[in-house]
Symmetry: C2
Subunit: 249 residues, 2 copies
DNA sequence: GTAGAACTCTGTATGGCGTACATTTATTGA
DNA sequence: TCAATAAATGTACGCCATACAGAGTTCTAC
């Protein structure tokens, strides 16, 4: 692979974007045929992260899985951080396609559920040390799908973006909270509930106490929080409708 | 410090909770007076993370900052993971106190703004590799404050928790997205906008294209996203009011 | 008063990590 | 055929978390 600082003044961000979009400096014909590829490396890394978590991902493991030495990876990917950004984009499938004439609320709910599922499949993606916002083609397409649904609600430009970010953020946040709870290991929820009971005294945390004592396991199970997400999203969309009605009427 | 596996069957989670709440096995009187403390160690670690980010936090740096050897830290804290959980709780101040008779919406908005500010002050806290949900006294008190505000909206038990988690999640999520944008370094936003312009073509991403081309810098600035958060939260609360009215009326 | 238990702290060592750099090997255009 | 180019390897550095052994300090039990 040729020198990838083709335009010497190119920023890290720009180079990352090139990589994500497969914009490569044209490679010369001399030298040995490359045995690896950015795609193969990304796939291998993804496999490791999905199976063992992001903490277990190392350049050495990726290389070993592919049958090469560690340093050969660096012929294709500038470093671990960029590899992770490639992984994030590769883990994002095409977004759900709304049916013809589907209500915007249904589309958005489906989108949120699909996003949730995505984070469930790739829990590491929430804990990833990244400095850049999502700029890969798949991640952009995913977000575009949310915006397209929201645009059908009657909101205008800036508000569409605002709501899109809000919904994305809330799903991410919920997923993060739940994954903290369930972690890789399953069934920590009961133990968590037990600790809650130990700690949450009624004087200091009256509201929390009331809810926790009533039904702790239920309040903290994965299923419960999935329902919380639906509840919040529905209230949010109710509010949007009211907002649109008021602006129009 | 005495053997901390006092009750041998104690789980990791239980031991972490003990640590967070300062429940220590009573320390014997023999041996040298301890020169360090859990608090001092936590404070030092917090200082490093706030200044240099979580990636720069190492046990060696904490120890050096305190003038001790690396391993002496392990007399007070079982490992790095638990230290991070201590840091998370230590970074959480007492929550804002609502004025007498304050509207629940105002309380919740204030709470959300304060939470936002908290993440702005300690950006590392969003990227932290943690397996446990927040169980420290300060983090619980913070969340209790949100629940207390929401409880005044007229929602009932389970719905209060659902909405509390939803709002917390959305603030966390928004903060995470913004911190990806601005990072530690400031003013990546314009460069980000430039890359967006390069990539977002109108055929593939029509909605995103429309918004981005209209006012890219504005759409991605920190201030803008802060306003997005307010917008989303208001729509959410509108929806809650409608929900409560319907259930009551 | 003193032996030794209990405790803190240090020193050393292990195995892992990301990646810089120099070298070897394979391929091809001149 | 040979210099250029690129892929792949080997070696090395400095960092990391933490296990373990031992040194030094303080108090309890006798």
């Amino acid at each position: 692979m040729p020198d990838d600082s083709e335009a010497p003044g190119k920023s890290d961000l720009a180079r990352t974007v090139d990589l994500l979009w497969g914009i490569e400096a044209p490679r010369g014909t001399r030298g040995p045929r490359p045995g690896l590829s950015v795609e193969a490396i990304t796939r291998a890394a993804l496999e490791i992260a999905d199976a063992e978590g992001i903490a277990a991902l190392s350049m050495q493991k990726v290389a070993k899985l592919l049958g090469y030495t560690t340093m050969s990876i660096y012929n294709y990917v500038p470093g671990k951080e960029q590899l992770i950004e490639l992984m994030l984009d590769a883990a994002t499938p095409p977004p759900p396609v709304p049916a013809e004439g589907e209500d915007w609320r249904v589309s958005l709910e489906r989108w949120a559920a699909a996003t949730w599922e995505l984070y469930r499949l790739h829990p590491w993606s929430l804990k990833v040390p990244t400095a850049n916002p999502p700029l890969g083609p798949n991640q952009l397409a995913w977000f575009e799908a949310a915006l397209a649904a929201i645009a059908r609600s009657g909101l205008s430009g800036g508000d569409v973006m605002a709501l899109g970010l809000y919904v994305l953020a809330s799903v991410r946040g919920q997923a993060g909270l739940v994954l903290d709870l369930t972690g890789t290991r399953d069934a920590t929820a009961p133990e968590f509930a037990e600790q809650m009971r130990r700690i949450v005294d009624s004087a200091r945390f009256p509201v929390l106490h009331g809810i926790t004592m009533a039904a702790p396991e239920q309040a903290y199970g994965t299923a419960a929080i999935q329902m919380d997400l639906d509840f919040g999203l529905r209230r949010l969309m109710d509010g949007v409708e009211r907002y649109v009605e008021r602006r129009v009427g």
